[in-house]
Structure formats: structure tokens, C-alpha cells
């Protein structure tokens, strides 16, 4: 396993180095047009258009099991590095300057948002899986609501079980006032993503603070409630990270098709005028 990770790192380093070299070569090559008063816009434009079309076909490739045109992971690698290269090519094509026309601005910022969303997606797909692994358990995204409900139901059962046996209402009061609301609410992804699961830790601490008022049997239940809170925190983290991993595509893919429409019109405008 350790060997495969090192191979992966070596491959990534090789590809990143290749990308840097290809970028430098492209920058150097296309800057040789300028001293000779040649325009590189046509060459860079067509390459860029070809790359965009090729990158867009990755989405189609995922839907087509046949013919077997390389592995999806190979396509993904190509998508990442060709996409990064197209970002540089885009800057060369625009002359490292902002456009001044209305349509050009729409196209420019669409492409910019597309490339930026790609990089954001790359960043997310490189960082969030590590966070998911740190949680320690695997959960299918679609099942998380079911598990959330199970947590709530289990907590309800535990609290009911001690209500029938003991007259001390410390746990019940806390459960009714705070814990049940926490277990039944939807997770706040923004808070979880950018800060931490602080809310669950506070609740766990609150339950610990109740121990002094509880009997031994009740403490056992309280600890089980703490486990449920921790479990719910894990579920929330899973939900948020997986949701973000899926949600960035809501920006990236529509932008791709928007850019393709604008590119077609851009080509017509360039050649007609």
C-alpha cells in the first residue's frame, strides 16, 4: 500500500512537472509571435476551443460504458492537467488583459468562472476525502438522512427508558430543551465546513456536566447519548463534505455548456468581422 501511494505521488509530481514545462514552452512559443508582428490569437483560440470540447467530453465519457476509451481515472487525470493548461492558454489568448466589450466580458468571465470552479473542484477533491477518511467511517451520501433519523429514534428510546425507571429528570430536561432539537435539525454545512463540529462538542460537554446529578445507571445512558451525539456529528460532517463534493459540479458543468454556446458565437464573430 505504501508503495502504491509513493507511486501515486511520483506520478503526480511527474505530471505536475510536465504541466509546468508545457506551460512554459507554450508561453515561450506564443510570445515569439509578437516580435514578428504575427497574431497568436487564432492559433491559441483554436487550441483552446479544441481543449474545451475535449474536456467537455469527459462528462459524456462517464455516461458511456462503451466503447472502453481508457479508464475514467485516466480521463480525470487528462481533464485536470489539460484544464490547467487551458487556463494558461486562456490568459495567453486574452493577452493577459481584461476585455472591453460586452460580449467579450460575458465570455471572459464565464471561462474564468469555469476554470476557477475547476480549480476549486480539484482543491476540494484533494482535501475533503482526507477529512472524510479522518472521520473513520464510510457512509453512502443518500443514506445519511436515514441514519440521522435512526440516531434520533435511538436517543428517544434511551431517554424514554430512563424516564420510566427514575424520577430524576436532569437528562430528560436537557434532552427536551437542547439535545432533541440538535438531533432533529438539518446540519449547518457552512459552519461545519469552515469552522468545526463545535456544537456537538458543546453538547457532549453539557452531558458530561450532568453526570454529577445522575445515578450510575443514568450515567450509562448519558454516555450512550454522548455516543449518539458523536455519531450525529460524524454524519453531519459526512453529509457536508460529500454534499460540497457533489455541489461544485452544479457550477462547473452548467458553465461548461454555457461557455460552449458563447465560444461558437465568438468564433462566428471573429471570422465574420
Amino acid at each position: 500500500m505504501a508503495k502504491s501511494i509513493s507511486e501515486l505521488s511520483a506520478r503526480r509530481a511527474r505530471l505536475q512537472m510536465s504541466l509546468v514545462i508545457a506551460g512554459l514552452l507554450a508561453l515561450l512559443y506564443f510570445s515569439t509571435y509578437d516580435p514578428l508582428l504575427l497574431a497568436n490569437n487564432y492559433d491559441t483560440g483554436w487550441i483552446l476551443f479544441g481543449l474545451f470540447v475535449l474536456l467537455a467530453t469527459y462528462n459524456a465519457r462517464k455516461k458511456l460504458p462503451y466503447p472502453p476509451l481508457f479508464k475514467s481515472s485516466t480521463w480525470l487525470q487528462f481533464h485536470i492537467y489539460a484544464g490547467s493548461f487551458s487556463g494558461l492558454l486562456f490568459l495567453i489568448h486574452t493577452g493577459f488583459s481584461f476585455p472591453t466589450g460586452g460580449f467579450d466580458n460575458v465570455l471572459y468571465w464565464n471561462v474564468f468562472a469555469l476554470i476557477l470552479s475547476g480549480f476549486v473542484g480539484l482543491l476540494l477533491s484533494r482535501t475533503l476525502p482526507k477529512r472524510l477518511t479522518d472521520i473513520g467511517q464510510e457512509v453512502i451520501y443518500e443514506r445519511i438522512p436515514q441514519f440521522r433519523l435512526q440516531c434520533l429514534e435511538e436517543a428517544d428510546q434511551l431517554v424514554l427508558s430512563i424516564t420510566e425507571q427514575y424520577s430524576n429528570r436532569a437528562i430528560q430536561d436537557y434532552y427536551r430543551a437542547t439535545l432533541r432539537r440538535y438531533l432533529s435539525q438539518s446540519p449547518n454545512c457552512f459552519e461545519l465546513f469552515f469552522s468545526s463540529d463545535r456544537q456537538s462538542q458543546v453538547i457532549v460537554q453539557d452531558i458530561s456536566n450532568l453526570f454529577r446529578y445522575l445515578r450510575k445507571e443514568e450515567i450509562v445512558v448519558a454516555k450512550q447519548l454522548q455516543d449518539i451525539v458523536n455519531l450525529r456529528a460524524d454524519l453531519d460532517n459526512h453529509y457536508c463534505y460529500q454534499h460540497v463534493l457533489k455541489a461544485w459540479l452544479f457550477l462547473h458543468i452548467p458553465l461548461t455548456f454555457s461557455v460552449l454556446v458563447l465560444l461558437a458565437l465568438h468564433i462566428v464573430l471573429v471570422y465574420a468581422f
Binding site: 512559443y29 515569439t32 509571435y33 509578437d34 516580435p35 514578428l36 508582428l37 504575427l38 497574431a39 476585455p99 472591453t100 466589450g101 460586452g102 460580449f103 467579450d104 473513520g136 467511517q137 464510510e138 457512509v139 453512502i140 451520501y141 443518500e142 443514506r143 438522512p145 436515514q146 441514519f147 440521522r148 433519523l149 435512526q150 455516543d227 449518539i228 458523536n230 455519531l231 460524524d234 454524519l235 457533489k246 459540479l249 452544479f250 458543468i253 452548467p254 458553465l255 455548456f257 454555457s258 460552449l260 454556446v261 458563447l262 458565437l265 468564433i267 462566428v268 464573430l269 471573429v270 471570422y271 465574420a272 468581422f273
Partner: protein, 681 residues
């Protein structure tokens, strides 16, 4: 202690189908039914039993098919009719929801169609041109818009077309780019397209002639193709060579410089339409160097013969020193002109060379008059046939020109200047007249009378006759405009010419000497001539005659008519003293003012005295750069590059080629005036 969240065992875990379009509406509540909606997004809970029994073909009995996750095969088994024995699962029907993937799919299509619709609407709307314009025009071209409304059709063929017409047009890019190029040329050039699109607006023919000076690379010119590095090769030079190699030396292709190669439009109100780098300039030139300081050739010296006004600075030096006259006594910088102008004669020279009883032409013109119309001495048997006081032994230049243009006398004039007398002298009028028969002399005299009579007609007729005669005689060598000016000044003598004409015709016997001090014409009845005395410096008649002389001098080698050579010789002799300053022998037309001469004949230089003088006390001293030379052919030494390098230092804005050189060898604003565009360069 961590509670395990999910049982991964496939026998205990339901199968999720995230790729399907619809999911159960109870998913968000955490209670999805195990069957899920059907493919059409309808809840299918009522259709489902716990299992769908299958028939075993070998035994012919129905078998339970309940999935393991729902408890596996039940003990009761199916009913005999093959239906499930267990009651239908109790699930509330739901409103199925789109899966995440399906939502993304829909949003993608929505955005795609929305963008398509937005673009279509914009293309059909009134904001079409402003929205699809790549940016505001350069201020110089702002006038192309009609009342601030974009008028794309001024330059682009597609400017008044629709999208449907743009698409086929896009496949004919070469054709409509040609049209756009023609639009540029129609406004900015008064030259043909080949010249306009040639490098530096020079056709290959001209380029070969100037190749040594410009050092342009050109595939058609074998001599100019050797690239010479004037400085050790720098990184920039290496880069340029690499560019040449990578793009297969594009200057070898048929050289057409499109306007858009350099002039980038639609980059906003504050953008410069042109920005040339040093490398771009050097890419076409055979002499390459790193910068103005590092490698730029020294400036050459200017010969005195190249000057518009021949002025001997060395000879005048002692007077300048005596009277402490600064350079700016005669020279001045102008805001609108890059050149240092010379003040007028009255402002600069007249202070010393005042035109009183004497003048600056060695007193010659002021004291002596110029015989314009004079009558030769001709002896006739009949004394009344020719004025007895006509005493001239030779004809004036004007008279030769007029007679050479008259049908009746042109052959006589030709033979006069073709013949030689006994001493071998050519053009001896007296000798020729002595040799002529009475009949020929009469014809010659009547031609003179006819010319004089014609010129004494009302001004319009006189002007027409004079122009006709002068054009016939000198029209092959002297431009029409000069002949028109000369004719105008000749007939300006008016009444005196009329009186003179009557003398010639014998109708006037009175002995009158009259000098019109206002017009300068002098009627001298004693010598029987109509003379002229210049009134002021810059006299129009003398100027016209000098221009005529200059053009004739340009054709000295071509002229085979002795009478025209006689005119040129006569004028040269007359204006010998004028030519001391106004060089009529080197070029025509004569540049009366130094402003009109270009010190840079090909027009690529750009220099502003005003800007330089205002930069500091050091440069305000003219002698800082202009140092008098000991060379007899040069008043001043060549300006040294070291004078410039302190400001035009490497890696500064002033180190650009375009600081001192311009690409086009003509004045942009002149061309622009054709269409009323106020161009800025």
C-alpha cells in the same frame, strides 16, 4: 466509543441507485421505501408486494423471492396462484423527487438554453452592436460612429448583416478582411494599395533604392538579407532569432503589412492604437542592436547642399559674435512642427541686410532693373516697320520663352540659338538678324508685335495667351502651376504693358519714362523695354522666374532645344546672387523656407526641438548639440549620439525606436483630412 454507522454487508444493506432520475420523496425524512419510484417519477408503492415469487420450472411450483435485506425466503411461501402470501408493506405514498444527478442535468440544460436564448435576443435587439462590439474605438476613430451610435459597417462588411449572414461570411474571411483593409486605406492613404501595404509604405522598387539606408530584409532583394548584429548578441536578440526560425522567417513571404498587424482597435478610449516594441522594429531590419545606447549607429552629418537655404554659418559667425545674436534670433521652435523653423527674412536677415538704398543682393537688384520685355534692334527698309528706339542686342529670358511658344516665331528662335556667328558664339541675335531676309525679319517682328498685342488685352485673355505661349515653350520641363504663377505676374504689369504694346505697334510716339513704384514695373522708352524692379524680398515675379529656372536646371541633361537652354542660362545669370541662398540648382521646386525641407528624406524621423529645449538649461543651449565644423562642406559637425544617451538611456521609455522613428513616411493628419477625421498620431 464509536457507534458503527452503516452495515456494508450486501445482504443487510439496500442497493442505492443514485444515477436514477427519481428518488423516494421520504428520503429527506430518513424513511425511504425500499422500492423507490418508477422511471416516470410516480410513487410505485401500491404496486409492490414484499416479493415477486417465481415459478420453478422443474417442480412447477412457485418459490419465494423475498430479498435478503427484507428477511429472505419466508416460511409460508407463495400462494398457489403465484402471488405473495405476505401482506403488502405499509408505506405512505410519496411525491418522488429528482435525484441530485438529475437536478444537475436539468440545471445544465437550463443554463445552456438560457444562454442560447439570451444571445439570440441580444442579436435581435437594438443593443446588438454595442453589446457585441469588442470595445470602444480609439479616440482617433470615434468620429466613425454616427452621432455616437456604433456604425460597424463603416469598416466591417458584416456590420449591417444578421447572424444568419455572418455564418457564411465567416467562411470567406479573406475576402471581407480585404474589404476592411480597403476601408482603412481609403481614409488614411492617398497612395495605391500596394504602396500602402508595403513595409514602410515603400514599394519594392523604392525599397531596393533605399535598402542601404533602411537595411530592410526582403526576400526579393538578395543584397539586403544578411543580418548583421551591431552588438554582442543579447537574450532579446537570441529570442528574435528563435522567433524567426520557429515561424519560418515570415518576412520571406510576399510582404504585405496589414494595418491590423500594428494598429489594434477596440481596446477602449484610453488605449493607444499602436505600440511597437524595439524587437518588433528590428525583426524586419538587417542591422540589429540592443538599444539606442548599445549599438544604434551614430548620426550622419548633413551636407550644406542638402539645406533648403544655403546659409554660411561660418561666414556669419563674426557678425553674430559682434552683435551678440543668439541662434533664436533667426530660428524658432514651433509647437505643431517637430522641426526648428527659420524666421522670415524680415525677422531674421533684414536687421543687417536692410533693403534701403542698398539691399542684400549686393545692391544688384535694387539698383539695376530686370529687363522683362525688351525689343531687339532690327533694321528694315521701311523705317516705320519697327520702332527706331528698339536697341536690345539680345532677348530677355521671358521674351525668348514667349517667342519660342509662338507659332510664327518658334522656328526663328530655334535657329537663333542654334546658329553661330563668325567668332563661333552661339545665339548671337544681331548676327542672325543681319543674315536674315527682309521677309523673315518682318515675320519675326510681327510675331513680337502679336505677342505684345495679345498680352495687352484684358487680363483674362492676356493670361490665357501668356500661359499658352509659355506652356508651348517650357511645358515639358516646368510644371503647370509654376507657369500659371509666372503668367499671372507677367500680366500684372497691366496698363504699362498696354502702353508698351502700343509703342511696339507704332501707335504711340510720346517719349515717356514711368516707374510704378507700387507694382515695380518700369516703362523705359529710351531703351524701349518694360523692366522690373523688385519691391521687397520674396518678390512674386522673381520667385516665379527662379522656380522656372530651378525646374529647367533639373532637366539640363534632357533639354535638346537651344532656346530653352538659353532661357535657363539667362535666368541663372540673372539670379546668381539669389542662388547664393536659395539653391535653385540642386532641387526643384525651391524651398523658400527651411520649414518645408525634410532633413529625413524618407520621413521616418521624429524629433521635437521644443520638447528637448524645455528639458533643461543644458539642452537650451543650441551649441550643446550643434557644434560648428571645420569641414568646408559642413557648417556643423554631425550630432553625436552621446548628447542623447543620458536621457535616452537603456530600459527607459525613451529607449524605444518609436520615440524617434515613425513607421509611416507621411503625415497621417493630411490623409485623414480627406474624410474630415481629426487623426492623432
Amino acid at each position: 466509543m464509536k457507534i458503527p454507522i452503516q452495515n456494508i454487508d450486501f445482504r443487510k444493506s439496500t442497493y442505492e441507485r443514485p444515477n436514477q432520475k427519481w428518488v423516494c420523496g421520504w428520503v429527506s425524512e430518513g424513511k425511504p421505501c425500499p422500492h423507490g419510484p418508477n422511471g416516470k417519477g410516480k410513487c410505485a408503492i401500491e404496486d409492490h408486494s414484499t416479493c415477486t415469487p417465481y415459478k420453478d420450472q422443474t417442480t412447477g411450483r412457485f418459490c419465494c423471492n423475498r430479498p435478503t435485506v427484507f428477511g429472505g425466503e419466508c416460511e409460508e411461501g407463495p400462494r398457489p396462484d403465484g402471488s405473495c402470501c405476505r401482506p403488502k408493506a405499509v408505506y405512505y405514498p410519496c411525491q418522488p423527487r429528482l435525484s441530485l444527478r438529475a437536478k444537475r442535468y436539468r440545471i445544465t440544460w437550463f443554463v445552456f438554453i438560457l444562454m442560447f436564448v439570451i444571445m439570440t435576443v441580444l442579436l435581435a435587439s437594438s443593443v446588438k452592436w454595442s453589446f457585441f462590439s469588442p470595445g470602444p474605438l480609439n479616440p482617433a476613430h470615434a468620429a466613425l460612429n454616427n452621432n455616437s451610435q456604433l456604425n460597424c459597417a463603416t469598416c466591417h462588411v458584416a456590420g449591417d448583416m444578421s447572424l444568419a449572414q455572418w455564418i457564411p461570411l465567416a467562411f470567406k474571411q479573406t475576402e471581407h478582411q480585404q474589404e476592411t483593409r480597403t476601408q482603412c486605406i481609403s481614409c488614411h492613404f492617398d497612395k495605391d494599395e500596394v504602396t500602402a501595404l508595403s513595409p514602410h509604405n515603400m514599394t519594392s522598387l523604392v525599397k531596393v533604392e533605399t535598402d542601404e539606408t533602411l537595411g530592410l530584409k526582403d526576400a526579393s532583394n538578395k543584397q539586403g538579407n544578411e543580418v548583421q548584429d551591431l552588438t554582442p548578441e543579447s537574450n532579446a536578440m537570441t529570442f528574435l532569432k528563435a522567433s524567426d526560425w520557429l515561424h519560418n522567417e515570415p518576412w520571406k513571404q510576399p510582404t504585405k503589412m496589414d494595418c491590423v498587424n500594428c494598429h489594434k482597435e477596440h481596446h477602449g478610449h484610453n488605449s493607444a492604437a499602436l505600440s511597437m516594441t524595439n524587437l518588433q522594429c528590428q525583426s524586419c531590419h538587417t542591422e540589429r542592436f540592443n538599444g539606442f545606447v548599445d549599438g544604434h549607429p551614430e548620426f550622419g552629418g548633413k551636407s550644406s547642399a542638402d539645406q533648403a537655404l544655403l546659409f554660411n554659418h561660418k561666414g556669419h559667425k563674426k557678425y553674430f559674435e559682434e552683435k551678440q545674436l543668439p541662434c533664436l534670433q533667426c530660428h524658432a521652435s514651433q509647437d505643431s512642427s517637430p522641426k526648428m523653423s527659420l524666421l522670415s527674412f524680415e525677422q531674421s536677415c533684414q536687421g543687417c541686410h536692410h533693403q534701403g538704398s542698398t539691399d542684400h543682393h549686393d545692391d544688384g537688384l535694387k539698383k539695376d532693373t530686370l529687363a522683362v520685355f525688351d525689343l531687339p534692334y532690327i533694321s528694315f527698309d521701311d523705317e516705320d516697320a519697327w520702332p527706331e528706339y528698339a536697341v536690345a542686342s539680345e532677348l530677355s529670358a521671358v521674351m525668348i520663352a514667349l517667342l519660342a511658344g509662338h507659332e510664327a516665331s518658334q522656328d526663328y528662335v530655334h535657329t537663333i540659338y542654334l546658329s553661330e556667328d563668325d567668332d563661333g558664339a552661339e545665339g548671337d541675335l544681331e548676327y542672325w538678324l543681319d543674315e536674315q531676309e527682309e521677309e523673315d525679319k518682318l515675320a519675326f517682328a510681327s510675331a513680337i508685335k502679336d505677342i505684345m498685342a495679345s498680352m495687352s488685352q484684358p487680363k483674362a485673355n492676356a493670361l490665357k495667351t501668356t500661359q499658352t505661349l509659355l506652356t508651348r515653350s517650357m511645358g515639358d520641363y516646368v510644371p503647370k502651376s509654376v507657369i500659371e504663377d509666372l503668367s499671372e505676374t507677367l500680366v500684372s504689369s497691366g496698363a504699362l504693358l498696354s502702353i508698351f504694346s502700343q509703342y511696339v505697334g507704332g501707335d504711340f510716339e510720346a517719349d515717356i519714362n514711368y516707374e510704378d513704384s507700387f507694382s515695380g514695373w518700369i516703362l523705359n522708352s529710351e531703351e524701349f523695354s518694360l523692366n522690373y524692379r523688385a519691391i521687397l524680398h520674396g518678390d512674386p515675379l522673381l520667385a516665379s522666374l527662379m522656380q522656372t529656372s530651378a525646374f529647367l536646371n533639373q532637366h539640363t541633361d534632357d533639354i535638346d532645344q537651344p532656346e530653352i537652354i538659353a532661357i535657363a542660362d539667362s535666368l541663372n545669370d540673372t539670379f546668381k546672387s539669389c542662388s547664393a541662398c536659395h539653391n535653385s540648382e540642386v532641387r526643384a521646386p525651391i524651398n523658400w523656407s527651411s520649414d518645408t525641407i525634410s532633413r529625413d528624406p524618407m520621413g521616418f524621423g521624429r524629433f521635437s526641438h521644443e520638447t528637448h529645449v524645455s528639458t533643461g538649461e543644458k539642452l537650451a543651449q543650441c551649441t550643446h548639440c550643434h557644434i560648428q565644423s571645420d569641414d568646408k562642406n559642413h557648417d556643423f559637425s554631425a550630432i553625436e549620439k552621446s548628447n542623447c544617451t543620458s536621457c535616452h538611456a537603456p530600459k527607459t521609455q525613451l529607449d524605444q525606436c518609436t520615440t524617434c522613428h515613425q513607421y509611416h513616411n507621411f503625415n497621417f493628419s493630411i490623409m485623414s483630412s480627406k474624410v474630415g477625421i481629426k487623426a492623432t498620431q
